[in-house]
C-alpha cells in the first residue's frame, strides 16, 4: 500500500514558495506503537512454537539423562576398604550384570565382571570418592533410559524402569491405521458424491449435517466408542474375542470423527477443478463416473493427498477417544480387539493423577509429547508442501 504522504513538499513548494507549511512526514508515535503491538501479537505464535519445543525438549533431555537409583535389596556381604575391587555380595535381591552402574552409600561403581556372588567393580566411578563400606549396606542400581532402549524395546513399565516406546507407539499406529481405513474411503466417497453428483439442494442439506460431526467434542466420541461401538463389536464378534477396552472400537470412532475433515478438504479440492475439464471429458463420451474418477480426482489429487495426510496427523494426535475406549495400561499387541494404551492415552492417564514434578513419570510424558509433536508437525509440513508443489493451476 502506498504511503499517503509521498513527497508533497516538492509539488507544493514550487507553486507557493511563500507558504511556510511544514508538510514533511512527521513521526507518528502512536502509529508506531500500535504497529509494534500488532507485530508482537503476530510474533507470539513463534514464541508458542519455541515454547513447545523448548519445554518438551528440556524435560525430554532430563528424561534421557537423569540417573535414578533403585534399591536392589542386595546387601554387601563383606566389609570393603577404598582399594578393594572384587568382593562378595548377598544372594538375595535382583541380579547384577556386567556394565551395570551401582551405588554403595555415596560411592558409584561400575560392574566389570560377575562370578556367582562375587563381583569385580571399577571403584570411584563418575567422579565419586572411593571409600570403605561395611557389610550389610544395600546396593542401589542405576536406571538410566537410553535413546536406544527408548526406540528399540517394546515394554513400557515405569515401575520397573522399562521405557520402550513401541508398546505405546504401536497402539497409536493401530488406532490411527484403523481410523484411516474407515475415514479415507468414506471421506473420499462423500466428497465425490457431494461435489460431482449431489444437487445444490442436497449438498446444502448434507454438508452442514456432516459438519456437525466435526463440531462434536471428542470426549463425546469417547463415550460413544465405549457405550455404543464396543458393545456393537462385542455382539457381532463375540464377547470372548473383543475386550471391553480395545483399539478397534477407538479406531473406528476416530475414523468417524475425521470423515468430515477428509470430505470437506477433498471436496474443496474437487470443486476447484474447472468445469471445462469435466465438459471436455463428457464431450469425449465419458460417463459421469469416468469423468469423476479419471479426470476430476486426478486433477485434484494434490488437495486430496493433503487432506489424507492432515487426517492421519489428526488421528495420531487424537486423545480422548483412545483415553476412554482403547484401555489403560501399555501392551504390545497387534490384535485390534485387545486393549492397548496409546501415546496420547498414556499422557492423559499419567498426568490425570497427582503428578510430582521432577519424577521420571513427569519427564517421560514430555518425551512422548515431543515425539508426538514432531510426528504431527512433520505430517502437517508434508501436507502443505504437497499442496504447494503439486497443485495444478487452472486458468
Amino acid at each position: 500500500m502506498e504511503e499517503p504522504y509521498a513527497d508533497p513538499n516538492a509539488i507544493l513548494s514550487s507553486s507557493s514558495p511563500a507558504a511556510k507549511l511544514n508538510l514533511r512526514k512527521r513521526p507518528r508515535i502512536r502509529e508506531t506503537i500500535i504497529q509494534t503491538f500488532l507485530f508482537l501479537c503476530g510474533a507470539l505464535s513463534i514464541l508458542v512454537t519455541i515454547g513447545i519445543v523448548y519445554e518438551l525438549g528440556k524435560e525430554s533431555l532430563l528424561f534421557f539423562t537423569r540417573q535414578q537409583w533403585e534399591l536392589t535389596n542386595k546387601p554387601l556381604a563383606v566389609d570393603i576398604n577404598a582399594s578393594v575391587t572384587s568382593f562378595q555380595v548377598g544372594e538375595s535381591g535382583s541380579d547384577l550384570e556386567v556394565d551395570d552402574v551401582i551405588r554403595i552409600s555415596d560411592e558409584i561403581m561400575r560392574v566389570v565382571a560377575v562370578q556367582g556372588d562375587a563381583i569385580t567393580v571399577e571403584r570411584g566411578y563418575q567422579d565419586s570418592q572411593a571409600t570403605s563400606h561395611t557389610a550389610g549396606i544395600e546396593i542401589s542400581l542405576s536406571e538410566q533410559v537410553t535413546l536406544r532402549e527408548f526406540f528399540t524395546t517394546t515394554e513400557w513399565n515405569p515401575q520397573i524402569g522399562k521405557f520402550g516406546i513401541w508398546s505405546l507407539a504401536n497402539a497409536t499406529l493401530m488406532t490411527s491405521f484403523i481410523a484411516v481405513l474407515v475415514a479415507l474411503p468414506l471421506g473420499l466417497g462423500v466428497a465425490i458424491y457431494l461435489s460431482e453428483y449431489a444437487s445444490n439442494r442436497a449438498r446444502g442439506l448434507l454438508k452442514p449435517i456432516l459438519e456437525i460431526l466435526a463440531g462434536i467434542p471428542t470426549v463425546v466420541y469417547g463415550y460413544f466408542a465405549l457405550t455404543f461401538m464396543t458393545p456393537l463389536l462385542r455382539s457381532i464378534l463375540g464377547r470372548d474375542v473383543v475386550d471391553i477396552y480395545n483399539t478397534a472400537s477407538a479406531g473406528i470412532v476416530i475414523g468417524i470423527l475425521i470423515i468430515p475433515l477428509v470430505s470437506s478438504m477433498s471436496e474443496d479440492a474437487l470443486s476447484a477443478v474447472p468445469r471445462s475439464l469435466r465438459e471436455a471429458a463428457y464431450g469425449l463420451g465419458a460417463t459421469k463416473l469416468e469423468t469423476a474418477v479419471k479426470v476430476v480426482v486426478p486433477a485434484a489429487i494434490s488437495g486430496i493427498a493433503a487432506a489424507f495426510i492432515v487426517a492421519i496427523s489428526r488421528a495420531i494426535g487424537e486423545t480422548m477417544i483412545v483415553a476412554i475406549a482403547a484401555g489403560a495400561g501399555p501392551a504390545f499387541t497387534f490384535n485390534p480387539f485387545e486393549s492397548a494404551e496409546t501415546m496420547t492415552g498414556h499422557i492423559v492417564r499419567i498426568s490425570g493423577g497427582d503428578l510430582s514434578y521432577n519424577s521420571l513419570d513427569y519427564n517421560s510424558i514430555f518425551a512422548i509429547g515431543l515425539m508426538l509433536f514432531f510426528i504431527t508437525l512433520f505430517l502437517n509440513i508434508v501436507s502443505q508442501q504437497i499442496v504447494r508443489r503439486f497443485r495444478e493451476e487452472y486458468e
Binding site: 470426549v219 465405549l226 463416473l289
Partner: protein, 422 residues
C-alpha cells in the same frame, strides 16, 4: 475405474467387445459406484444419528430407587412429603440428621431464607437418601416396559420405579456429588464458562491483532512468511501438546502468577497453579491460531476500495484499519472467534494435563480457584465402571451439546445481524 489396459492400445484387438455391450457395462458400473458414493454419505449421517441416539438412550429411562427411609413413612399422615409445609419439613430434617450437620446447613444458608422446595430437596437428599439400584436404557424403557415392571415388583419390592430424565433442572443446578443420584453439573458449567472467558479475553485481542498485522501491515519478507507458516502449523498441533505446554509454563513456571500468590492470595487449596487462570490461558493458546486464521479471512474479505478511499482522505494506516477495515470485518471475526471458542469448550485432554480437579463441590469464584469443566466431568463419569455414572455422563453430554448449540446459534445470529453488504 480399473479399465483394462488394452483400451490404450492403438489397434482394436479381436477380443474387443462391441461398443454397445461395453457402454451398457460402463453405465452399470457408473450406477454401482453412485450407490457406493451415496452409501458413504449415508454412513456418515447414520454415525451421527447413532451417536445422538446412544446419548439419548442413556440420558432417559426407568430407574428403581431404594430409600433409606421411605418418604411416605417420613410424611406420616395422608399428605405426601412434597406438599408438607416448610416448618414440618425442617422439623423432619432436624430430627433425622445430626445437630452438627443441621448447623452447617443453617450456616450455609439460613433456613428462614430457604424455599419449601429447597428444604424438601434436603430432606430427600439427607434423610430419604435414594439409591439407584437398577436402571434401564430409553430403548428398553419404551419397548420392554412390562418386563421392567415385572422385574421391579419381583426383585425390588421396596423400591420405587420411576421414569427418570437424568438431564433435568436439578442436574443443571446441583453441585457435583459423589452420589450419582444427587450429582449435578453446576460446578462444571461455571468452570467451563470461567475458563473460556479467560481464554477469550486472552486470545481474542491477540488473535485479531496478529491477523491485522499479517493482513494490513506485514511486508512479504522472511519473518512474516515464517509467522504465517508457523500459525498454520500450530493449528495442526494436537491439543494435548498445548496441555503439556500449559503444565510446564503456566502451572509450573508461572505458579506464583497463576495461583494468585503475587496478588497476596494464599489459599492453600489453590496454591499449586492448577487454576482456572492456567486452564484458560492454555485454552487461549490453543485457539489462538484458529482465531488468527479466521480473522485473516474476514479481514481479507474487506474490499480494497474502502482502504484506498480512506487513505485518499488522508487517514493514517491505523485510522483506516480501526475505522473502516475492522468494523467491516467484525462479523466475520466474531463468527470465527465463536467457532474457536466452541472448540475450546469441548476440549478435554489439555485440561486433564493442566490439572483439572476431579472432585470439587464448591463453585469456582475467580480465576485463581480450582476448577472442573463439563468435558472433564463427562470423562470422569464415563471412566467409572458403574452403569449409573453412564447415565449422568449422558446427561452432562446433553448439557454440553446444548451449550455448544446455543453458542453456534449466536454465531449465526451475529453474522446475520452485523454482516453489511459491501
Amino acid at each position: 475405474m480399473r479399465q483394462p489396459k488394452e483400451q490404450s492400445q492403438p489397434s482394436p484387438s479381436s477380443q474387443e467387445e462391441p461398443f454397445d455391450t461395453k457402454l451398457a457395462r460402463r453405465h452399470r458400473l457408473g450406477r454401482i459406484w453412485l450407490v457406493v458414493f451415496q452409501a458413504s454419505t449415508i454412513v456418515g449421517i447414520v454415525a451421527l444419528v447413532a451417536l445422538l441416539l446412544s446419548i439419548a438412550n442413556s440420558a432417559f429411562g426407568y430407574v428403581i430407587y431404594e430409600y433409606d427411609i421411605d418418604p411416605a413413612e417420613l410424611a406420616g399422615g395422608d399428605v405426601p412429603l412434597e406438599e408438607l409445609p416448610k416448618e414440618t419439613l425442617i422439623a423432619i430434617l432436624q430430627e433425622n440428621i445430626s445437630d452438627g450437620a443441621f448447623r452447617r446447613l443453617e450456616d450455609l444458608k439460613p433456613f428462614a431464607d430457604r424455599s419449601q422446595a429447597n428444604v424438601y430437596r434436603l430432606v430427600i437428599e439427607r434423610v430419604a437418601e435414594p439409591k439407584a439400584v437398577e436402571q434401564w436404557t430409553l430403548y428398553q424403557s419404551l419397548f420392554n416396559r412390562s418386563a421392567i415392571f415385572e422385574e421391579a415388583v419381583r426383585d425390588y419390592p421396596d423400591g420405587e420405579l420411576r421414569f427418570e430424565s437424568w438431564f433435568d433442572p436439578h442436574f443443571v443446578t446441583a453441585p457435583q456429588s459423589s452420589d450419582p443420584v444427587q450429582a449435578g453439573v453446576r460446578t462444571a458449567i461455571l468452570g467451563s464458562l470461567w475458563t473460556i472467558l479467560v481464554a477469550f479475553l486472552f486470545a481474542f485481542p491477540i488473535g485479531v491483532g496478529a491477523a491485522l498485522y499479517l493482513e494490513e501491515y506485514a511486508a512479504d519478507n522472511f519473518l512474516n512468511r515464517l509467522i504465517r507458516t508457523n500459525i498454520n502449523n500450530l493449528a495442526g498441533v494436537p491439543s494435548i501438546i498445548y496441555g503439556m505446554l500449559g503444565l510446564a509454563i503456566f502451572v509450573r513456571l508461572l505458579e506464583q502468577l497463576t495461583s494468585g500468590a503475587i496478588f497476596g492470595l494464599t489459599d492453600p487449596t489453590t496454591a499449586n497453579g492448577r487454576t482456572i487462570l492456567s486452564a484458560g490461558l492454555t485454552l487461549g493458546l490453543l485457539i489462538l491460531p484458529l482465531i488468527i486464521i479466521n480473522a485473516q479471512e474476514a479481514v481479507k474479505a474487506v474490499p480494497n476500495s474502502l482502504r484506498q478511499a480512506s487513505f485518499g482522505l488522508g487517514a493514517t494506516r491505523w485510522q483506516t484499519v480501526w475505522h473502516h477495515v475492522l468494523p467491516n470485518a467484525l462479523s466475520g471475526v466474531l463468527t470465527g472467534t465463536i467457532l474457536a471458542v466452541s472448540r475450546a469448550i469441548g476440549e478435554t485432554a489439555p485440561l486433564v494435563v493442566v490439572g483439572a480437579s476431579t472432585y470439587i463441590t464448591f463453585d469456582p469464584d475467580g480465576p485463581f480457584s480450582k476448577f472442573t469443566t463439563l468435558p472433564i466431568q463427562i470423562y470422569q463419569w464415563t471412566a467409572r465402571p458403574q452403569d449409573v455414572f453412564r447415565n449422568i455422563a449422558a446427561a452432562a453430554i446433553l448439557m454440553l451439546l446444548v451449550l455448544l448449540l446455543s453458542l453456534n446459534a449466536t454465531a449465526v445470529l451475529l453474522r446475520n445481524r452485523y454482516s453489511r453488504r459491501l
